[in-house]
Symmetry: C2
């Protein structure tokens, strides 16, 4: 089967998020006074070919720990979007 | 009310995604032969204070068109994650 998996990588609580801070500052300069916080993160859509959904999730998990996220400062979550046989 | 809104920004189909290409190449070099495609994008969590959910969504939409996305090359979607009164 071939599955599309969404991986979202965000900074753990307590880590400084300069992109979020800058985006918030820009938005408020543009007049968006109702926006009071911005946190930023990355999203990846992986297309994975494997025998089972369990294998797909295991591969996505390994991709996160080995490349897509930094275990010291990032947290991630993985969800299968769609699969075709 | 105060709501947390998730905004996901991705390249429209047909636009070159060098970060996705590089991530795919790295993953395959690491041995992930089952991963056949990677697309990358950005995610933002906006905290917005407004009277109604409709107002929250309108503000998020404006934030996307004015700063967070490039209408020429990006597509985005907006979803409310949680609200408190």
């Amino acid at each position: 089967m071939k599955c599309i998996v969404r991986v979202e990588v965000r900074l753990k609580k307590g880590f400084h998020d300069p992109e979020g801070v800058t985006a918030l500052s820009c938005l408020r300069d543009l007049g968006f006074k109702q926006i009071v916080d911005v946190k930023s993160g990355k999203v990846y859509y992986l297309t994975i070919e494997a025998q089972t959904k369990e294998d797909v999730l295991k591969i996505a998990e390994q991709a996160c720990t080995k490349l897509l996220s930094n275990p010291v400062k990032d947290e991630y979550n993985i969800s299968i979007i769609e699969c075709t046989e």
